[in-house]
C-alpha cells in the first residue's frame, strides 16, 4: 500500500492522478488485496439484506445482480458491511424480511450526523495582477487552520459546543470547464478588455470554509420509507434532519470571523450584507461526511456496535464505514473510518483463529 509514487505536483488531482500518486481505494487498497489471490470482486451487486442463520449468526448477503436483475447469494464466516453509513443502515433495517437485525437497542438509524459547513468567498485586491507563476499546491488548498478558541471554549465563553477548523482555498488553480473568474468581474466586457480583466482578477478570489463538529441529536435520524422503493423493490431511506443551536451559532461565529479575515487582508467577503448568517449553514448531508446511524458504545442497550465494530446482537457482523461513529469531530471522517476498520480487521482475524466468531 506504500508503493505508490510521491506527489509530483502536476495534473488535476480531482480527476485521478495521472501517475497514481494520490490516495484512492481503486489504486491504493485494491491492487495489494487482489495480489493475495484471495479477493473476489463482484461488480453491479446491489445488496438487499444480510442472511442470518437459525443460530443467530450472519451467513452471507443476498444481492441483486444489476445486470440480470436476479437475486444471488454470497456466503461467508463473517460479514463486513462498509456500504457508506446510510446504505449500511438501510441493509440492516431491510434484513430479516424488513424486520431489521442488530437492532435490539432500537438505535439503528438514530444519531446520524454530517459536518457543520458555512462558507464565505471574498476578493483580495493585493492578489490582483500578480506575475504569472506556478501555484499548484496539493489540491489547491494551501492553508488549514485547526480550532483555535479552545481556551475560550473551556472558559464557557462560546455559545456553541466543541469547535471548527478552517479550510482556505482559491489560488491560481487549473481552469477546468467553468469560468476561472466570477462572472460579475467580466460584466460589460468583451474582446481584449475582457481578457485583460480575466488576467487581472484570476487568483485574487479566496474561499474560506468552516468545517465543524455537529452535536448528535434526537431529531436527526433515518428510517425505512414506508412507501418508496427502489427499482428492485427494496425500501429506500427516509431522512430526518434537525440542527440545534450549537450548529446555528457556530455558523454565525464562522461568518463573523471570515468577514474579519477578508477585511484584515484588505479585501472583502462577497455576500449580501442583509443576509441572515444562519442561512449560510449548509444542509445536512451537503458536506458528504455522513456518519452515525449504528453507533458504537460500551453498553449494548445504548449502542449498536461494540468497540471492535461488531454488532452487539450478531458478533460476526461488522460495520466498517462511518455508521458506528457516536460523534463526528470536525475532522474529515475517512481516516478515522480506515483506522477503525484496520483495527476491527485485525481483531476479526484474531477471533476467527481462536474460533470465537
Amino acid at each position: 500500500m506504500s508503493s505508490r509514487a510521491a506527489c509530483f505536483w502536476a495534473t488535476e488531482c480531482g480527476r485521478g492522478c495521472s501517475i497514481r500518486a494520490n490516495y484512492q481505494s481503486t489504486t491504493v487498497h485494491i491492487p495489494p488485496a487482489d495480489a493475495t489471490g484471495n479477493l473476489d470482486i463482484i461488480a453491479d451487486a446491489h445488496v438487499r439484506e444480510v442472511i442470518v442463520g437459525k443460530d443467530g449468526k450472519a451467513k452471507g448477503v443476498l444481492f441483486i445482480d444489476k445486470t440480470t436483475g436476479k437475486e444471488e447469494r454470497v456466503k461467508g464466516k463473517a460479514v463486513v458491511l462498509a456500504a457508506s453509513s446510510g446504505e449500511t443502515v438501510r441493509i440492516l433495517l431491510n434484513s430479516a424480511s424488513g424486520k431489521g437485525i442488530s437492532n435490539s437497542s432500537g438505535l439503528v438509524g438514530k444519531y446520524i450526523m454530517d459536518t457543520v459547513g458555512s462558507d464565505m468567498s471574498g476578493q483580495i485586491p493585493a492578489l490582483e495582477n500578480l506575475p504569472a507563476h506556478n501555484d499548484d499546491g496539493a489540491g489547491g488548498c494551501h492553508f488549514y487552520s485547526p480550532w483555535w478558541l479552545y481556551k475560550e471554549q473551556k472558559a464557557g465563553k462560546m455559545d456553541f459546543a466543541r469547535g471548527y477548523h478552517v479550510e482556505i482555498s482559491g489560488t491560481r488553480g487549473m481552469p477546468k470547464g467553468n469560468n476561472p473568474v466570477p462572472g460579475h468581474v467580466l460584466q460589460g466586457l468583451y474582446g481584449t478588455e475582457l481578457k485583460e480583466a480575466a488576467r487581472r482578477y484570476y487568483g485574487s478570489f479566496i474561499h474560506i470554509a468552516c468545517r465543524g463538529e455537529m452535536i448528535p441529536n434526537e431529531g436527526s435520524f433515518a428510517e425505512l420509507d414506508p412507501e418508496v422503493k427502489d427499482k428492485w423493490g427494496i425500501p429506500v431511506m427516509k431522512w430526518h434532519w434537525k440542527w440545534s443551536d450549537h450548529e446555528w451559532n457556530m455558523a454565525v461565529h464562522a461568518q463573523k470571523t471570515f468577514a474579519e479575515i477578508f477585511e484584515s487582508a484588505g479585501g472583502k467577503g462577497l455576500f449580501d450584507p442583509k443576509r441572515d448568517p444562519k442561512k449560510t449553514l449548509l444542509k445536512g448531508g451537503q458536506v458528504i461526511h455522513e456518519v452515525g446511524g449504528a453507533i458504537m458504545g460500551a453498553d449494548s442497550k445504548k449502542s449498536v456496535c461494540n468497540q471492535w465494530n461488531q454488532t452487539w446482537d450478531i458478533k460476526n457482523l461488522l460495520l466498517c464505514d462511518g455508521a458506528p461513529f457516536a460523534s463526528n469531530a470536525d475532522k474529515n471522517p475517512t481516516e478515522t473510518i480506515m483506522a477503525l476498520a484496520w483495527r476491527a480487521a485485525d481483531r476479526l482475524i484474531e477471533q476467527a483463529r481462536k474460533g470465537n466468531l
Binding site: 506527489c7 509530483f8 505536483w9 502536476a10 495534473t11 488535476e12 493585493a126 492578489l127 495582477n129 500578480l130 506575475p131 504569472a132 507563476h133 506556478n134 501555484d135 499548484d136 499546491g137 496539493a138 494551501h142 491560481r172 488553480g173 487549473m174 481552469p175 477546468k176 470547464g177 467553468n178 469560468n179 476561472p180 473568474v181 462572472g183 467580466l186 460584466q187 460589460g188 466586457l189 468583451y190 474582446g191 481584449t192 475582457l194 481578457k195 485583460e196 480575466a198 488576467r199 484570476y202 487568483g203
Partner: protein, 209 residues
C-alpha cells in the same frame, strides 16, 4: 429607422425592444422558446459512461445546435475572445463546439443555460436582421461591435454566453498562458511557495519553509 441610425448606432427604441424581447423569451417555458429549426435536447441521463471508452462527438447525448445557431455562436465567441497578444481566437480552440456540447447536455444546470442560449441566439439574429438585414455572423466587424456594445450593457443571454465561453476558452492549454496559469508542471520536489517577485508585489513575506 433611417440610414444614419443604421450606420452609427441602434436607436434607443430598438435597444429597449431587444431587452424586452430577450427578457420575455427567457421567462417562457423551454419548448415554446425554441425556434423552428432548433432540435430537441436529450431527455434523461441514461447509463453511467464507460470510463475506458473514448466517446465520439454527439454520442453521449445528441448535439442540438442548428447550423444557424452554430454560426452565430462561432461569430459571437470570436468577438468575446478575438486573437490578440493574450491568446488565440475562440474559433481556434473550438469554443462553439464546447457550448454546443454544454447546452445539449441533459443535466439541470446545462438545461438552464440552454434556456438562455437558444432563444438568445435566435433573438440576436432577429435583431441583426431587423437592424442590418443580415444575421449576426454575416455582419461587418463594426456592426458586430455595435451589437456587442448593446448586449454588454446588460443582457442575461450575453452574460451566460460569456460565462460559458470563458469556461471553454480558458480550459484549453493554449489559453492558459493568456490567463496567467502556469501550473500542471512538475516541480521536482515539494511546493516551495510563490516566487520572490510575487511575494514582493503582494506585500507579504514567506514565514514558513
Amino acid at each position: 429607422m433611417n440610414s444614419q441610425d443604421q450606420e452609427n448606432r441602434l436607436p434607443r427604441r430598438r435597444v429597449l425592444q431587444w431587452f424586452a424581447a430577450v427578457a420575455a423569451a427567457e421567462g417562457m417555458a423551454l419548448p415554446s422558446t425554441l425556434g423552428q429549426e432548433a432540435k430537441p435536447a436529450a431527455n434523461g441521463y441514461g447509463q453511467d459512461p464507460v470510463m475506458a471508452k473514448s466517446y465520439e462527438k454527439g454520442e453521449a447525448w445528441p448535439l442540438t445546435m442548428t447550423e444557424t445557431e452554430k454560426k452565430a455562436t462561432v461569430a459571437l465567441a470570436d468577438m468575446i475572445f478575438p486573437a490578440d497578444d493574450l491568446g488565440p481566437a475562440a474559433s481556434e480552440v473550438r469554443v462553439a463546439d464546447f457550448i454546443d456540447e454544454w447546452i445539449s447536455a441533459p443535466y439541470p444546470r446545462q438545461k438552464g443555460d440552454r434556456g438562455a442560449i437558444v432563444p438568445g441566439l435566435k433573438k440576436l439574429d432577429e435583431e441583426c436582421q431587423n437592424n442590418f438585414g443580415k444575421n449576426f455572423a454575416d455582419l461587418s466587424e463594426e456592426e458586430k461591435k455595435k451589437a456587442c456594445d448593446i448586449m454588454a450593457k446588460g443582457n442575461h443571454f450575453f452574460n451566460v454566453f460569456v460565462n460559458l465561453a470563458s469556461g471553454a476558452y480558458y480550459s484549453d492549454p493554449r489559453c492558459w498562458k493568456a490567463l496567467g496559469y502556469e501550473g500542471n508542471a512538475p516541480y521536482g520536489g515539494p511546493f516551495k511557495g510563490p516566487p520572490e517577485e510575487v511575494l514582493k508585489q503582494a506585500g507579504v513575506e514567506q514565514t514558513v519553509d
